[in-house]
C-alpha cells in the first residue's frame, strides 16, 4: 500500500534563481537535482520533500501536506535545517559544502557544490567485478580513509555525528578527492538528549547501538561505520549487519580470508573499529587516524592449514544453503 512518491520538479523549472537540469537522486528526505546558477555553473540542489509526509502531483510546484502530518513535517524540516546549519559551519575539502539555503514553493532548498565523479560504492562494485584477489590496493585504502577521517574529525569537532557513513555516501571526485555526502541523518547529539525518530540506518554499516533506542551514540558509532567501509573496500561486499553479528559473529572468520592479501595491521584495525561493544572501539577519530597512519613494515600472516580447512568448510556450508 505504498503511496506514490511526490513528483520531482521538471527540467527547466526555476527555483531561487537556479534552473533545474535533472533529478540526480531521491531519498526519504527529499530530492537532489542538478541545476545551474545564474553564471551557468553546475550546483546540486536538495529539496526538502519527505516522501512519506508530502505529496506533489506531476507539474505542480508546491507540495501538499495533510494537516495531521504537519507536526511531523515541521519536525523533519527542523532536521533539514540542522543538516544545513552543520554543513554551513564546516568548511573542509572532505565534507560537501553548502552554498545557499532558501525558501520557495512552501518548502526549503539547500544548494551544494556539484561534484563530478562516482561514489565509493560504484568503485567497489566495479573493482569487485574484476575478480582480482584484491578489491583495492592497501595503500589506496589507507590514503582514502586518511582523507575521509580528516573530514570526519572536523564533523565530530562540531559536536555532530554523521550516522550514515557508507560507501554510497562517500564520493570520489574526478580530481581524486574523497567527499562525505548526505548529512541527512547527522545531528547535534551532544547538546540534545532525546531523539524523535532515530535516524534510518543502513544494514551492515550501522553500529549495534543504532538499532537500540537506548543506545548511546557517539564518535564510536561513526567509527564502526568506517570499519565497515574499510571491510567493504577489502572484501567487495558489506559486512553482516549488527543483529546478525550479535547472533553469530562471523566477522573474524571472514576477515581471516583476507590474511596475506592485506596486512595484519589493516585487518586488525578493521576488527577493532567493528567491535560490537562500543567501548572496545577506537574512541575518537584521532586514535584511529594514528593507527592507520602507522607506516611500519607490513606483516602478512598466511593462513594455517587448519584455518584453510575451516574456511573451505564454511564456504561449502554457505554454498549448500544458498
Amino acid at each position: 500500500m505504498s503511496k506514490p512518491k511526490p513528483a520531482p520538479l521538471p527540467a527547466g523549472t526555476v527555483v531561487g534563481g537556479y534552473v533545474i537540469v535533472k533529478k540526480l537522486a531521491a531519498g526519504g528526505f527529499g530530492v537532489v537535482y542538478l541545476a545551474e546558477d545564474a553564471d551557468r555553473h553546475n550546483v546540486a540542489i536538495k529539496e526538502y520533500l519527505p516522501a512519506s509526509l508530502a505529496e506533489r502531483s506531476a507539474g505542480e510546484l508546491t507540495p501538499r501536506v495533510k494537516p495531521e502530518k504537519q507536526p511531523l513535517y515541521r519536525l523533519g524540516l527542523k532536521s533539514f535545517f540542522e543538516e544545513g546549519r552543520s554543513l554551513a559551519q564546516i568548511s573542509h575539502p572532505s565534507v560537501v559544502s553548502v552554498l545557499n539555503f532558501f525558501r520557495e514553493n512552501e518548502t526549503v532548498y539547500m544548494v551544494m557544490n556539484y561534484l563530478q565523479g562516482d561514489t565509493l560504492q560504484d568503485f567497489i562494485v566495479t573493482a569487485r567485478d574484476l575478480k582480482r584477489d584484491k578489491v583495492f590496493r592497501e595503500s589506496t585504502i589507507r590514503s582514502l580513509f586518511d582523507e575521509i577521517l580528516r573530514g570526519l574529525r572536523i564533523v565530530h569537532q562540531h559536536k555532530m555525528l554523521h550516522l550514515d557513513i557508507k560507501p554510497a555516501n562517500v564520493f570520489i571526485t574526478n580530481d581524486n578527492r574523497a567527499v562525505m555526502l548526505d548529512f541527512g541523518a547527522a545531528r547535534e547529539v551532544l547538546s540534545k538528549e532525546g531523539n524523535f525518530i532515530r535516524p534510518m540506518y543502513t544494514p551492515g554499516f550501522a553500529a549495534p547501538e543504532m538499532y537500540r533506542r537506548d543506545g548511546t551514540l557517539g564518535p564510536w558509532t561513526d567509527i564502526y561505520a568506517i570499519g565497515a567501509c574499510i571491510y567493504a573496500c577489502m572484501q567487495g561486499y558489506p559486512p553482516n549487519d549488527a543483529p546478525q553479528r550479535i547472533e553469530k559473529d562471523r566477522l573474524a572468520l571472514s576477515l581471516s580470508r583476507l590474511r596475506n592479501v592485506y596486512s595484519d595491521n589493516l585487518i586488525e584495525v578493521t576488527e577493532w573499529c567493528m567491535s560490537l561493544d562500543p567501548l572496545s572501539r577506537p574512541q575518537s577519530v584521532f586514535a584511529l587516524q594514528k593507527e592507520l597512519a602507522r607506516e611500519t613494515e607490513r606483516r602478512y600472516t598466511k593462513l594455517s592449514f587448519s584455518e584453510r580447512m575451516k574456511l573451505q568448510f564454511e564456504s561449502l556450508k554457505a554454498g549448500a544453503k544458498s
Partner: protein, 309 residues
C-alpha cells in the same frame, strides 16, 4: 495499524494555555494523551508537559513495538508522571506542587485501553452513539455515580464546588488512576480526548454528533470552535485530540497514518521528549522561525566561505 488523528489546542480567554496534548506511535501501538495543568497551583503548564513527557518517554522505552501489558503500563506511567512532579517541586523548593489532570489512551492490536486522573475526558463514539466516557474525579460526577447506584449521598456534599477535583497528579495523596479496557475497536470508531474547556462548554450530545458527522480533521477544529464560541471571552483553554480507527485494512484514499511503514524500532512522536522542565514547550516552527533559520544558515555559509583559503 491505520488511523486518522487530529489535535487542536486553543488558549481561549486565558492568559496562557496550560493544556498539553500529543501522540506517539510505533509500528504496532499508539499512545494518545492530554493533560490540563491546574490553575491555583504553580506552573500548571509545566505539570501538564511533564506528565505527557513521562508518558511518552516510558512508551518509547516499553513499546517494542507493542506493550506487554497496556493497562499496567498506563497505571504506572501516569503515576510516574506524578512522582516526577513531586520530585520537581522538591528539587526547586516549591511551596506547592504543580498539578495536572491527565487522560491517556493506548491503541494496540484491535483494542483500546485508557486511563485518566482528574477531569480530562475520553469519549468513545461508535455509529453515532456514545459507547463510553470516562467519569471525572470531581464531586459532581461522584454524586451522579452515587445517585445512580442508589447509595446515600453524604450531607456535606452540597458544599463542594462542582469543579473541585478530589484527585490529580501532583497532589499530596496518591492519585486515583482509573483504567479501562481492552475495548475491541471497530473501523470507524472515534476516540476523543479533551480538556474540561470542551466538555464544560459543549454538551455530550453535540460532541457525539459532531464527531459522527465529520472526519476527525474537521470535527476537532469545529468542536474547539464551538466551545470557544459558547464560553465567550472568558473561555478556558480548549484542547481536543481525536482519532478515527481505520481497522486493519481498507484501501481508501483518505489521509491516514500507516504505522506499517515504520520499521520495528522506529518511534514517532509529537510530544517533546527532551524538554528541560520549566521551559516553555517548543512551538512548532512558524514562518518567522523558518525565516530566521534560513538567515542563520546563510550567515554561517558566508562566514565559513570567508575562512576558505
Amino acid at each position: 495499524m491505520r488511523f486518522h488523528v487530529y489535535q487542536v489546542s486553543r488558549k481561549g480567554g486565558r492568559q496562557k494555555n496550560e493544556d498539553r496534548m500529543g501522540y506517539c506511535y510505533t509500528r504496532s501501538a499508539g499512545l494518545f494523551a492530554l493533560a490540563d495543568g491546574m490553575g491555583g497551583h504553580p506552573e500548571g503548564e509545566v505539570a501538564a508537559q511533564m506528565a505527557l513527557q513521562t508518558l511518552s518517554a516510558l512508551f518509547q522505552r516499553d513499546a517494542r513495538p507493542t506493550l506487554k501489558d497496556p493497562l499496567r503500563f498506563l497505571q504506572e506511567a501516569v503515576l510516574a508522571g506524578h512522582h516526577q512532579l513531586l520530585r520537581y517541586a522538591t528539587e526547586r523548593g516549591l511551596m506547592d506542587t504543580p498539578r495536572t489532570t491527565v487522560v491517556a489512551c493506548v491503541v494496540q492490536g484491535q483494542s483500546a485501553y485508557w486511563a485518566h486522573c482528574g477531569d480530562s475526558r475520553l469519549y468513545l463514539v461508535r455509529d453515532g452513539k456514545l459507547l463510553a466516557r470516562t467519569r471525572d474525579h470531581s464531586y459532581t460526577e461522584l454524586h451522579g455515580a452515587l445517585a445512580q447506584s442508589g447509595q446515600p449521598i453524604p450531607m456535606d456534599a452540597q458544599r463542594f464546588n462542582r469543579n473541585v477535583l478530589f484527585t490529580c497528579l501532583g497532589s499530596p495523596g496518591k492519585p486515583v488512576v482509573d483504567t479501562a479496557g481492552p475495548t475491541v475497536l471497530q473501523p470507524g470508531d472515534r476516540l476523543m480526548l479533551c480538556s474540561d474547556g470542551l466538555w464544560g462548554a459543549v454538551a455530550d450530545e453535540a460532541i457525539v454528533e459532531t464527531l459522527t458527522r465529520h472526519v476527525v480533521s474537521d470535527a476537532v477544529p469545529e468542536l474547539a470552535e464551538m466551545a470557544l464560541r459558547a464560553a465567550g471571552a472568558k473561555s478556558d483553554n480548549v484542547t481536543v485530540l481525536a482519532l478515527e480507527w481505520e481497522g486493519a485494512e481498507g484501501a481508501d484514499e483518505a489521509p491516514v497514518v500507516h504505522t506499517r511503514s515504520l520499521g520495528e524500532e522506529v518511534f514517532a512522536s509529537t510530544i517533546q521528549a527532551s524538554l528541560a522542565a520549566g521551559e516553555a514547550p517548543v512551538e512548532e516552527l512558524d514562518d518567522a522561525e523558518i525565516e530566521r533559520s534560513i538567515r542563520e544558515i546563510n550567515e554561517a555559509i558566508k562566514r565559513s566561505s570567508l575562512k576558505k583559503p
